[in-house]
């Protein structure tokens, strides 16, 4: 079961020099050890309202598995999905 966040709440993310998340703060909790399971990019709607996102599927040491993305147009990080 997963929970898809249609409103895409903001999350605080710290990245390394390559732009890969290394620390995540979500709902007041900081997850320091973050492992990247997968990463991909989505670019869509370039002809009207361009969408450019860098997706990361993360797993933390506490067992939190989630998908976050960087909105490359705005430079903000958002939570998209949490896997139970």
């Amino acid at each position: 079961m997963t929970r898809l966040h249609a409103t895409h709440p903001l999350v605080q993310v710290e990245t390394d020099t390559a732009g890969t998340p290394i620390r995540l703060r979500l709902d007041g909790t900081t997850y320091a050890e973050v492992g990247i399971c997968n990463r991909w990019r989505v670019a869509d709607d370039w002809w009207r309202d361009p969408v450019a996102r860098a997706y990361f599927k993360l797993v933390t040491r506490d067992g939190l598995l989630c998908t976050i993305f960087l909105d490359e147009n705005r430079g903000t990080w958002h939570l998209e999905r949490i896997f139970d």
Partner: protein
């Protein structure tokens, strides 16, 4: 033949103009069994043989004007549809009465050609090209065109000219195509003494729905809309109307949906009003929008589809009871969309055209 022309034209842009004109046609149906709706706002009524029932043609026209109720009306009476239409077009309200909302003109029976003779030829429904040629030939009145030999008119103006000459002579072979009156079934159940609880009303409603739907089943017809009216003691009647999710002859489902809608209606009223519920003296049930539902044997061949159908009706009932914006269904109709939030969407479950639209 009479033409009734309510001045709906200014209101044609209104979305309910068609529905309002249908109401007027239903009223005109009570006047004559042969009505044709030419377009929204124009109705043709066959008044032949109505004299013994309604009196002279002028009286019939007056009655039609009364039925049109709030609309200013132009009525015309003539021997055929062309003469009736022309009469309605030429009708003028009395100039000495500024409040007159109706105008009526009667062209005497059998004198069509004589009456038209002096009228300008421009009143004929002719193409601009033919109209120009009429003026080239010096034809200015209908009488001039009517007096020409038919073969000469055909040679100069073709078939269209022949038709126009027939009209100028007051002849129109087109017959009236009567509209089929939309069927509606109605029944009333009275309570003596008046009912207080819902049980009695529920049972009576189911019985009424069964009584109306049983004969329909034999005719392969099913209603698309049901209207329930509660006649209350010392209170105005309460009416709920709903378009069924699909035409159905299941009296139980119709009754359940109506009661759910009624419950929602009662709950939406102010609390003070709901405290002291008046007793019910009678209920009226009307089924209309009859259609021939597609033949289906879902339970026999496809149990899954049958169960889904049952679930859908239940959801409709819950939706009707709790109002709009409460029940949603997730539809994954774009599984290949790049963005996850676009792969699925939420669709509200509920009955479209909820109560109110037809009240």
């Amino acid at each position: 033949m009479a033409l009734v022309w309510p001045s709906l034209r200014g209101e044609l842009a209104a979305p309910d103009a068609g529905a309002r004109f249908e109401v007027l046609l239903d009223r005109l149906d009570d006047l004559s069994p042969r009505i044709e709706a030419l377009e929204v706002g124009v109705a043709l009524v066959d008044v032949t043989g109505l004299e013994p029932m309604h009196g002279s043609e002028r009286r019939v026209a007056a009655r039609a004007v009364t039925l049109a109720d709030v609309y200013p009306v132009r009525a015309g009476i003539g021997d055929n549809r062309w003469l009736a239409a022309l009469a309605a077009r030429l009708a003028r309200a009395r100039t000495d009465d500024a409040t007159a909302r109706a105008a009526c003109l009667i062209l005497p029976a059998g004198e069509g050609r004589t009456t038209l003779a002096g009228l300008p030829i421009g009143l004929l429904p002719a193409e601009p090209a033919i109209r120009d040629r009429f003026s080239l030939f010096g034809l200015t009145s209908m009488g001039q065109l009517a007096g020409l030999p038919r073969s000469a008119v055909a040679a100069q103006f073709g078939a269209a000219g022949e038709r126009l000459q027939a009209l100028a002579r007051g002849e129109d072979p087109r017959t009236l195509v009567p509209r089929r009156r939309p069927e509606r079934l109605a029944t009333t159940v009275r309570f003596e003494p008046p009912a207080e609880g819902t049980t009695e009303i529920t049972l009576a409603l189911r019985r009424a729905a069964t009584g109306l739907t049983d004969p329909l089943r034999g005719r392969h017809l099913a209603p698309g809309r049901a209207t329930l009216t509660l006649h209350r003691e010392a209170a105005p009647p309460l009416t709920v109307s709903l378009a069924l999710p699909e035409p159905s002859t299941e009296p139980d489902w119709i009754a359940r949906l109506l009661l759910a809608r009624l419950e929602a209606e009662v709950r939406s009223r102010p609390a003070a009003d709901a405290d002291d519920e008046p007793r019910i003296t009678a209920i009226g049930l009307v089924l209309d929008r009859l259609t021939n539902p597609a033949a289906r044997q879902l339970p026999a061949f496809e149990p899954q589809a049958g169960r889904w159908e049952e679930l859908r009706w239940s959801l409709e009932r819950v939706g009707a009871r709790f109002g709009s914006g409460r029940l949603w269904r997730a539809v994954a109709d774009r599984p290949t969309a790049a963005l996850p939030e676009r792969q699925s969407r939420l669709v509200e479950i509920g009955i479209e055209n909820a109560a109110g639209a037809d009240r």
